[in-house]
């Protein structure tokens, strides 16, 4: 197999004295989707923050396209083609919908995404393009956040809690857009609470538990019980007692 696009080796990271990740190993091959699952506080967001440079780590702990990027400045990492759709969407409050998208496309890599393509993917955004980003519903805000990341034509896009707090019908719309995004050849890391849904769109998954990878592989490879155990930490030992 060729070199993966994103490769994480022995990643340790945290906040000040608090360590959240204890040696994570992960690979994301080019063009594939990795589902990242795990309970609240497991360290999924911290992992994405380390990849985007928002929390620091040693250079060789994160490699992108064969290059050690751990601890690089976030703006430099973004320029290499790593996009994030952050937890809680985090739209720019004083920017309109369109401005939120345009700022995402500033100094973009060459690629398929443009304002027109994003509006094609989420037509409601064209109607609302002059509204302040924050005036939209949660689902529409998520569409803006996704569009903002796509506008940069990233080679790797990471979604943190893509459906958290959204109505079921909106979640369906967002997931309906995923195949179009994946079809452009971009690699995807998907953090999702809904394990079944996450596994249904991913070629690989990794389960994080208390800062470590507790289980990884392909969705078909492990049965539901094993995944649940890895998720909640109810491992064989505690089961035996």
């Amino acid at each position: 197999m060729s070199e993966p696009l994103l490769s994480i080796r022995g990643l340790k990271a945290g906040y000040g004295d608090f360590q959240a990740l204890f040696g994570i190993d992960l690979d994301v091959p080019a063009g594939e989707t990795l589902a990242l699952i795990g309970a609240n506080g497991a360290g999924k967001s911290t992992l994405l923050r380390a990849v985007t440079g928002l929390v620091s780590c040693r250079p060789e702990m994160v490699c992108f396209d064969g290059r050690a990027i751990g601890g690089m400045r976030p703006d430099r990492i973004a320029a290499l083609g790593i996009g994030l759709v952050p937890e809680g969407r985090r739209l720019f409050r004083s920017l309109s919908v369109e401005e939120n998208l345009v700022i995402g496309g500033e100094r973009a890599l060459a690629g398929p995404w443009s304002l027109e393509r994003v509006y094609g993917l989420f037509p409601i955004l064209r109607e609302k393009r002059r509204n302040p980003g924050m005036a939209l519903s949660g689902g529409q805000q998520q569409m803006v956040a996704i569009g903002r990341a796509l506008m940069a034509n990233p080679r790797l896009i990471m979604f943190d809690e893509i459906s958290l707090g959204l109505a079921p019908v909106v979640i369906r719309d967002i997931y309906a857009a995923l195949p179009t995004i994946v079809a452009t050849g971009v690699s995807v890391v998907l953090v999702e609470q809904d394990v079944t849904r996450a596994l249904s769109v991913a070629q690989r998954f990794a389960c994080i538990q208390e800062g470590r990878v507790s289980l990884a592989g392909q969705p078909g490879e492990h049965d539901r019980a094993a995944i649940t155990a890895a998720y909640f930490g109810t491992d064989v030992k505690s089961g035996a007692h």
């Binding site: 985090r90 409050r93 345009v102």
Partner: protein
């Protein structure tokens, strides 16, 4: 007519106060920093203009072609070298650095230029006036300065709401962390904000130098006027800042009509009144 005249003069000087305020408001808006050195930067710009005028023989207003880019470059360097290293850790450190810059500027100017006051002579335009009504004459120079202030605020609005630099300013102000993911180098964005603020400071310094006598200790009062105009107008709203500057100018003019001692006090009173009745200013835009 005397009162009308006073109010009109107050409006015109209000434009200058709005200029003092605009740069201050810009820095606060983008990096949540109160630049204590702002007033001293205005006075430093006045001295730079003095030196440029003496060295080149340019008209004071024309000296802007040198003073503005020079101040902008100095502002950028000051931000990158002195302020950026302290920003983001806590709120107090950068504030203290600006306080230090303020002290250094005042004392540096004192050493270089002594405590004597100076003024820039603008020639015949100083005495030119237009008779708008019987008993009401408007000085051409104050009119030019007021128009320039309005234009600069209009230009700032355009930069803020129509350019990619302005988008970068607003995004960084809204969410500094996510703004970095938009490939924005925070240090450069802050540098550009200070450069723009210093460019406005340069104009304000030239206008100040033409209108009044200035000396190295004139900065803090300019900072207070600018600060009051920002607060009266409401944070984050540049047109509000213009209104705030005008309100302050008119209050001072009316105060001066009552008695010379009341001039500055009346301005402060209006400031406190607005603060008491509308703590977020007359036209707030920022939360």
């Amino acid at each position: 007519m005397e009162w009308v005249n006073a109010i009109v003069q107050g409006i015109l000087i209000g434009g200058l106060y709005a200029l003092f305020a605009a740069g201050l408001s810009l820095i606060f808006g983008v990096m949540r920093l109160v630049n204590i050195a702002h007033g001293d930067m205005i006075v430093a710009a006045a001295y730079v203009a003095l030196v440029v005028v003496q060295a080149t023989g340019l008209h004071p207003l024309a000296s802007a072609v040198i003073v503005v880019p020079l101040m902008a470059a100095l502002g950028y360097a000051m931000q990158r070298l002195l302020l950026n290293p302290t920003i983001g850790k806590d709120l107090l450190s950068p504030l203290l650095v600006t306080f230090g810059i303020s002290v250094i500027l005042q004392n540096g100017l004192l050493v270089a230029f002594t405590a004597d006051s100076h003024r820039l002579a603008a020639g015949s335009i100083e005495t030119a006036s237009i008779q708008v009504a019987p008993g009401l004459a408007l000085g051409v120079l104050p009119l030019v300065m007021f128009a320039a202030s309005v234009l600069i605020i209009f230009g700032l609005e355009l930069i803020f709401y129509r350019t990619s630099l302005g988008r970068a300013f607003r995004a960084t102000s809204d969410d500094p962390e996510i703004a970095q993911l938009m490939k924005l180098d925070r240090n450069h964005v802050f540098g550009m904000a200070m450069a723009l603020s210093a460019a406005i400071v340069a104009i304000a310094g030239i206008f100040l130098a033409i209108r009044t006598n200035f000396d190295p200790s004139a900065g803090p009062a300019r900072l207070i006027f600018g600060f009051e105009a920002v607060i009266i107008g409401g944070l984050g709203n540049l047109w509000g800042t213009l209104a705030g500057g005008i309100a302050l100018g008119v209050a001072q003019a009316i105060g001066a009509q009552i008695s010379p001692g009341w001039q500055i006090l009346a301005g402060h009173l209006v400031f406190f009144l607005v603060l008491a009745v509308r703590p977020r200013g007359l036209f707030p835009r920022m939360d």
